[in-house]
Symmetry: C2
């Protein structure tokens, strides 16, 4: 399967994080009652189904990602090597009520992988359990040690970065979808993850939001090292260059990634920034212009490859129509990377054109 091959290649080629993650996974859903708080688990199911042997929820949970339900010992029997915390709650905490289940996973021979703000190693029961049982506690949000200061120097190989008009509107899904399409066309491609779910999917990467500011561009340089001239790194974007809280991360990632091509991700159903009614979503054109004005500093040849529209709020014919009108208006291919179809093929053509 192309996706698995691509993902495995991503792992084999080595990542910038502290080594490969133990895979496959058992997805832990905790006692989650709302699907929105299990987006890490859904992301893994959607993008790395071959890495997921099952799901494990506590009594009271009302969310399923549709995988076989099993306890840690059964998952270990089926080959799982780690339990992944598939929950992304507000605050990023590890609930007291989860700890017995997490200890059960350690006792079943599984490592634990977490992208929460709270650190596994700071929970005494888990630290003690892992030491006693010889298991690993892997906190994805801990960036690699000894990150370099960026040099800005041009590296070999090609790079594509997804950028956005806001947070949480499809930059990771777009990058994964483009990486898969590149691989399907026989292009040598690695997906480069910059956030917790992306890192779990690809088995490596750097959590950009956790890096100390002075080293953020350096981390981005490390993430997509020099490669063969015909090799593409497809890099997961973060935040937005016009987001009042996260623009610094977005700019460091832009400069360090030195993309040849960027794709602007946009949700046409969103008028204000997520959770922030004070700020309008900026026009796609403004993001294109600013990304070129800033990005050409480390890659003078930077260009926009098209627009990724999150049309999940529209039906199929509305989505098609919007992609057509936006393509005409902007003079660049606009497509939904989840719906795919001819518009998406045109976007891939534009990204790969010499």
């Amino acid at each position: 399967m192309a996706q698995e091959a691509r993902l495995q290649r991503g792992i084999e080629s080595g990542s910038a994080s502290s080594g490969r993650l133990p895979q496959p996974y058992l997805l832990f859903l905790g006692d989650t009652v709302e699907a929105g708080f299990a987006k890490t688990a859904f992301g893994l199911r959607d993008w790395a189904p071959d890495l997921c042997v099952g799901e494990f929820a506590l009594p009271g949970a009302q969310v399923t990602v549709g995988l076989p339900q099993m306890r840690p010992a059964d998952a270990a029997d089926k080959g799982a090597r780690a339990l992944v915390i598939g929950v992304a709650n507000s605050g990023g905490y590890i609930a007291e009520s989860w700890i017995p289940a997490l200890v059960e996973a350690l006792e079943a021979g599984l490592d634990i992988v977490s992208g929460m703000h709270a650190k596994l190693v700071c929970i005494p029961e888990l630290r003690y359990g892992a030491e006693r049982l010889g298991r690993r506690l892997i906190d994805i949000r801990t960036p690699p040690a000894n990150l370099p200061i960026a040099t800005g120097l041009k590296r070999t190989g090609k790079r594509l970065l997804t950028v956005g008009t806001d947070c949480a509107l499809g930059k990771k899904y777009t990058a994964l979808s483009i990486a898969r399409a590149f691989a399907d066309r026989g292009v040598k491609t690695d997906f480069r993850a910059t956030g917790q779910t992306g890192i779990m999917i690809s088995g490596g990467g750097i959590p950009m939001d956790a890096v100390v500011a002075d080293f953020a561009a350096g981390a981005a340089e490390l993430l997509s090292p020099g490669a063969a001239p015909d090799h593409w790194d497809v890099i997961e974007g973060q935040g937005s260059i016009l987001h009042p809280a996260y623009a610094g991360v977005s700019l460091a990632l832009l400069h360090g990634s030195q993309p040849d091509v960027f794709v602007v991700c946009h949700d046409p159903s969103r008028s204000c920034l997520l959770g922030d009614e004070e700020f309008a979503v900026p026009p796609v054109e403004e993001i294109i212009d600013l990304t070129i004005a800033l990005g050409r500093r480390t890659n003078p040849a930077i260009r926009c490859g098209g627009i990724s529209l999150n049309t999940s709020a529209l039906d199929a014919s509305e989505a098609d129509e919007l992609c057509r009108t936006e393509t005409a208006r902007l003079g660049l291919p606009a497509a939904d990377p989840i719906r795919r179809g001819p518009a998406f093929d045109a976007l891939i053509d534009e990204c790969l054109k010499a």
Copy 2:
């Protein structure tokens, strides 16, 4: 003295860092043989002379900032409350050979203040000495705990930010000089420090380069809190929006500072970025345009107040001529904030105009 009053007010008003620094200082020069590596000490001598009781160098040092030379016990007798490491060596390390002198300071009753990358508290002799003697070890580069995510919301009061075409060309000196000129005109003003030397001068601030990327804009918001409508915060800039390593920090500081006015700092004698011949210094106009395009996101009224030219490589008449031609070319006041004179008065007028 206006400067002392302003600095004291800066301290009294409370800073965003972990409390007031113990002052006045004894400036420690280590065994430095080159003035460039003692820029923290020179900055303190120039901008906070009333906070410096003397200097203390080891045998072999070839640098003096011109203050009375004394050992820690004499400095304590003269009222010093802390020894400040006035050295900024490459790598930011604390040399083995300094440790006996630093222990001597602790024994004399002084705290130690350091802006080095290496942490005082990680040196066993110092940690043990401080515990034994009840002294404080203050690592300036440790940012405050529990920084918030930025909201982007408008705060009351006025703000000025210095921005740059490169690093290390006068953003701190320009901010200090403007803050002093504002205070001299009777304007309520606080200098807000974002780097180690600025923090030592003003007694508070946040080391922006040491903040985790996701919290950088939030740190900048915390640094210049809401204030009286006629109060000005003059904020020390960092890096450059077009610096390949540090632009993320610069953008986070711009968004979080939400300046009403910015002043572009430029060194006309520099053609390439400091220590980086691959990158030309960008034109002042490009920095103005990008700063407005990005900064209006959190302050739609942002405007450029003028250009601060570092003319240290020119003689007085050349400097005057350059300020005149740049003022005419850019249509904004251009002045050297160290030389001052009528051009600088015009710059201050422009910054303060309603």
